[in-house]
C-alpha cells in the first residue's frame, strides 16, 4: 500500500516537473513549484522523514513561493520564446541521465535493511542517542549535539545569505539616475 502511494506521488512529481518546463507563464511556474514542494513533503512523510517533510512544507511551499511571487512583481512574469534550438542541452541531459540510471543498478534496493548506509554510525545513534543526549527525537540529537559543528556551519551559511541579500537589495534603488547637480554622489546609495 505504501509502495503504491509512493509510486503515484512520484509520478505526479515527474508530471509537475515536466509541466514546469513547458509552461511559459512564470506565475503558473511558481505556483507549480509550490505544488512540487508539497508533493515532495508528502513523499518525505512516506519515507519516515517527518522532520524533513515539515521543513520542506514550510520552506518550499511557503517561503519560496512568496519570495518568487515577490520577484515576479519586481520583474516580468512572461518567459520569451527562445531563438536557439534546445538540441545540445537535450543531448547533454539525456546522456547524463542515462549514465545516472546505469549507475543506479549498483545502489541497494529500496528499503533494504542491510544496505551499507544502515550498518555504520546510524545504529549507534539509534541505540545510544536517547541515553546520551536525553532527546528521543534522534534527528534533533544528531543535529544539535553529535554534529553540532555542522549545524553551526549551516547557520553561518544562512547568516551569510541573509547579509548578502541585504547588501544587494537594501541600498538605494538601482533604477535611480545619478543626480546631475551632484557629480560625486555616485556610490552614496550603497549604505
Amino acid at each position: 500500500m505504501i509502495l503504491a502511494i509512493d509510486i503515484v506521488l512520484l509520478v505526479l512529481l515527474a508530471v509537475v516537473g515536466i509541466a514546469i518546463i513547458r509552461l511559459r507563464n512564470l506565475f503558473a511556474v511558481v505556483m507549480l513549484s509550490g505544488i512540487y514542494s508539497l508533493l515532495m513533503a508528502c513523499i518525505f512523510v512516506l519515507l519516515d522523514a517527518v522532520d524533513v517533510a515539515f521543513t520542506e512544507a514550510a520552506v518550499g511551499a511557503g517561503i519560496s513561493t512568496v519570495l518568487m511571487l515577490g520577484v515576479l512583481a519586481l520583474t516580468k512574469n512572461r518567459e520569451k520564446i527562445p531563438v536557439t534550438t534546445p538540441l545540445l542541452p537535450l543531448v547533454t541531459v539525456l546522456v547524463t541521465g542515462g549514465l545516472l540510471i546505469y549507475g543506479t543498478w549498483d545502489l541497494p534496493a529500496f528499503g533494504d535493511p542491510n544496505a551499507p548506509i544502515h550498518l555504520h554510525v546510524a545504529p549507534a545513534y539509534l541505540a545510544e542517542g536517547e541515553h546520551e543526549t536525553g532527546a528521543p527525537n534522534i534527528v534533533t540529537a544528531v543535529l544539535a549535539s553529535y554534529r553540532g559543528y555542522d549545524t553551526l556551519g549551516e547557520v553561518t551559511v544562512i547568516f551569510t545569505a541573509g547579509i548578502g541579500v541585504l547588501l544587494l537589495l537594501s541600498g538605494g534603488l538601482g533604477r535611480r539616475r545619478r543626480d546631475p547637480d551632484e557629480p560625486n554622489s555616485g556610490g552614496g546609495g550603497a549604505s
Binding site: V59, E132, A135, V155
Partner: protein
C-alpha cells in the same frame, strides 16, 4: 490588500496561532518532529503573512528592520557562545555535558540553547529577506 476584509480577519485570527505553533515546534523539538530550522521558518512566515495582508509599513512598525537585522547575528552568536561557554568550563567546543552537574541536564540545556540560536537566525533571515524584497517594490 487594505480593502479586502476577509484576508484581514482571517490573518488576525491565524497569526497568533502560527506564532504559538512556532514556539511549540521550537521547544518541543527534542521530543517530536521539529526544531530550530522549522520553528524559525514558521515564525518568520507568521510575520510575512502580517506584512502581506497589512502592508509593509505596518510590518516595519511591528518588527523594526534594524532590530530584525541585529537578531540575524544574535542567533549565530548564541550558538557560538554555547560552544565558548563549554570551552571555558573545561570541555571541548560544543560539548554540552559540562553545562550542568546533573546527568542529561547539560545536554538538554545545550540542545535547547543551540536550537534557539538556529531558530532566531532563521526567523530573522526570512523576515529580512521578505522585507528587503518587498521594500524594493516601491
Amino acid at each position: 490588500m487594505k480593502h479586502h476584509l476577509i484576508p484581514r480577519v482571517i490573518a488576525k485570527l491565524t497569526i497568533p496561532g502560527i506564532l504559538l505553533f512556532a514556539l511549540y515546534v521550537q521547544f518541543h523539538g527534542d521530543y517530536g518532529p521539529g526544531g530550530g530550522f522549522q520553528a524559525g521558518v514558521i515564525f518568520g512566515a507568521g510575520f510575512i503573512l502580517y506584512g502581506l495582508v497589512f502592508g509593509l509599513e505596518n510590518l516595519r512598525k511591528v518588527a523594526p528592520p534594524q532590530i530584525v537585522t541585529a537578531f540575524i547575528a544574535v542567533g549565530v552568536l548564541l550558538y557560538g557562545g554555547v560552544g565558548v561557554v563549554s570551552q571555558i568550563l573545561g570541555a571541548n567546543y560544543l560539548d554540552y555535558d559540562v553545562l550542568s552537574a546533573v546527568d542529561h541536564d547539560g545536554q538538554h540545556l545545550g540542545i535547547l540553547l543551540v536550537e534557539l540560536g538556529v531558530g532566531i537566525t532563521v526567523a530573522a533571515v526570512m523576515m529580512t529577506i521578505f522585507m528587503t524584497f518587498a521594500g524594493r517594490l516601491r
